[in-house]
């Protein structure tokens, strides 16, 4: 998926927009902003976000660089995002309140490709990975496609994230909501039932790797939206690479974040730390 598949150019340079809607959903924080100047993003794309004021000054004097955040929903010149706080960058983004200015660059990256005719789309996600899948679900439903959504979470607290996709089946690690176990167990059951599907996936690296392995083993195509630490988001720093099948490295920001499962090297997770 490294060709540019007709993506619309992003405005060159950052722009400041105002936050105009905040919502807490359990451990997640959803916020919206008005972005009349920006092109309409597609599911899978992301923005580099910075608080326009006081970005920095957190633990260890961070954050300093912008943070990559998937678009959750878009329309009518509005964008929304969902954040899970894991460090100083997401922490600062979650502190922003209505009226604060957000600095953004984007939309960036490629996007999920539409399912081939006859293939049933299955969305399979984990944790904060629900964001691009929620947007994909909306796109697919708008096109009249039937969607199967499978979402995995740590526990009941996080499982409220399932609300982002209507009708999603849920798995939790601790069994407190839905299936007790891995979301990929739900995926295997679905594929058992009917393998003529295409899988769209986003979530923690271990989950994505399981989806990759299932896709490779079963021949069911899968599009994986990857995460990687990013400094720039537009191909300038070469920092966000992932190892691909031929042993070389590919930039997640410009040749991703969406990759086809069999494009990844089998040991693509090797350089990753357990988070």
């Amino acid at each position: 998926m490294s060709e540019d598949d007709g993506r619309v150019p992003a405005p060159f340079g950052t722009r400041d927009v105002a936050i105009n809607g905040i919502e807490e959903l359990g451990p997640y924080r959803v916020f919206s902003c008005s972005d009349p100047a920006g092109p309409v993003p597609s599911a899978g794309q992301f923005y580099m976000l910075t608080g326009a004021e006081r970005w920095g000054g957190g633990v260890d004097e961070r954050p300093y660089l912008p943070r990559a955040i998937s678009v959750l929903a878009a329309g009518d010149g509005q964008l929304s995002f969902v954040i899970e706080v894991v460090g100083p960058g997401t922490g600062r983004l979650a502190e922003l309140v209505d009226g604060d200015r957000l600095r953004l660059l984007g939309p960036l990256g490629n996007r999920f490709r539409p399912p081939a005719a006859g293939l049933r789309p299955i969305l399979c996600g984990g944790g904060i990975g629900v964001a691009p899948l929620a947007m994909m679900a909306q796109q697919l439903v708008a096109e009249g496609r039937e969607v199967t959504s499978l979402l995995g979470f740590r526990d009941a607290e996080h499982a409220v994230g399932a609300e982002f996709i209507a009708g999603a089946a849920v798995a939790t690690d601790d069994g407190s909501v839905g299936h007790g176990g891995l979301v990929t167990e739900l995926l295997l059951a679905e594929l058992d039932r009917d393998p003529s599907a295409v899988v769209y996936s986003c979530g923690p690296p271990q989950m994505l790797d399981a989806v990759r392995a299932i896709s490779v083993a079963s021949g069911v195509p899968a599009q994986l939206a990857l995460e990687a630490p990013m400094a720039c988001g537009y191909g300038a720093c070469y920092g966000c690479v992932v190892k691909v099948a031929d042993g070389s490295y590919r930039r997640t920001c410009v040749d991703g974040p969406v990759v086809v499962a069999d494009e990844l090297a089998i040991d693509w997770l090797g350089g990753e730390r357990s988070q």
Binding site: D4, P9, A10, P11, F12, G13, T14, T50, G56, D60, E61, R62, P63, Y64, L65, P66, L105, L108, A228, P229, M230, A231, C232, Y234, G235, A236, C237, Y238, G239, C240, V241, V242, K243, G247, S248, Y249, R251, V254, G270, G271, E272, R273, S274, Q275
Partner: protein, 285 residues
């Protein structure tokens, strides 16, 4: 505000730091706007080596207080791939092209110079001397005598203006700059990243970066860059391209006041791809 850099006329004094802006990727992401509003008055390529390099395994980045450690590992297609794939795209740039190269010895550097020699699209060569000398473990550019020896061999192999990009990891950068001047360099650029270590926050005693150590850039190193720029400006007559943590026009102005002819923006472009243009505009106003 036009600036003469070794006979190359630049529209303003702001260029990019090698390896911190990929115009080919930027065109894919931002389209024609990149060329219409090109942020730099010259474009410096990332470092090209003789053979292709994959670069280091991830993670390659670590955010620090007011900066960034990178361990990218100079991924590039090698000089043949560069000439074949990249140069045609770079030839259409609206600004002069400076090609940055690195080799581990005089033989490699000489071959690189010879390969670039016929390309009229390349206005100047920037030689990155932050390459570790296999024998001493020091960067070649850390030792004035080593650098003189290298330049004595390779300088004759190019007719293009030659910019030597010094390493900051040395006891006295002015001595090294003096050696570059005496050995036929046409300009020097500085500073490259400071040798730095990122500890894995999740695994005590382990390196976070796939490449082991890395290089610190960003505002954290600005004061060191300013000190080295001043020291070099006091020691040599050559034009200086200065960089290191420049994040706004006021920062840039300080480097020009310290004796730089041209300034380069690196890490700040990651925060905003238009940083260079904004800084240039700020300097003009």
């Amino acid at each position: 505000m036009t600036v003469d850099l070794c006979g190359i006329e630049l529209a303003h004094p702001v260029i990019n730091g090698s390896g911190t802006f990929d115009v080919i990727a930027a065109r894919r992401v931002f389209g024609a706007a990149v060329d219409e509003n090109f942020p730099f008055s010259a474009f410096v390529s990332k470092t090209i080596t003789l053979e292709p390099r994959l670069g280091n395994p991830p993670p390659r980045l670590f955010e620090t207080p007011a900066g960034l450690i990178n361990s990218i590992g100079l991924p590039n297609r090698g000089v043949v791939g560069y000439l074949e794939h990249d140069l045609p795209e770079l030839a259409t740039l609206p600004v002069p092209l400076i090609t940055n190269v690195m080799g581990s010895d005089a033989d490699e550097v000489g071959q690189l110079f010879e390969a670039l020699e016929p390309c009229d699209e390349i206005a100047a060569i920037e030689l990155n001397v932050s390459c570790p000398n296999v024998k001493t473990g020091l960067d070649i550019g850390a030792d004035p005598a080593e650098l003189s020896k290298l330049l004595a061999v390779v300088r004759p192999k190019t007719s293009k203006p030659l910019i030597v990009k010094l390493t900051p990891n040395t006891a006295n950068v002015a001595l090294v700059a003096g050696a570059a001047e005496a050995s036929g360099a046409d300009a020097v650029s500085l500073i490259n990243t400071l040798r730095a270590f990122a500890a894995d926050p999740t695994a005590p005693g382990k390196a976070w970066l796939g490449g082991g150590t890395g290089g610190q850039s960003g505002p954290a190193i600005r004061s060191v860059a300013l000190a080295q720029t001043s020291a070099v400006a006091a020691a040599i007559e050559l034009p200086i391209i200065a960089m290191g943590g420049i994040a706004n026009a006021a920062n840039g102005r300080q480097f020009l006041d310290a004796g730089a002819r041209v300034i380069a923006v690196g890490t700040e472009s990651f925060r905003d791809p238009l940083a260079g243009a904004k800084i240039a505009a700020g300097l003009l106003s």
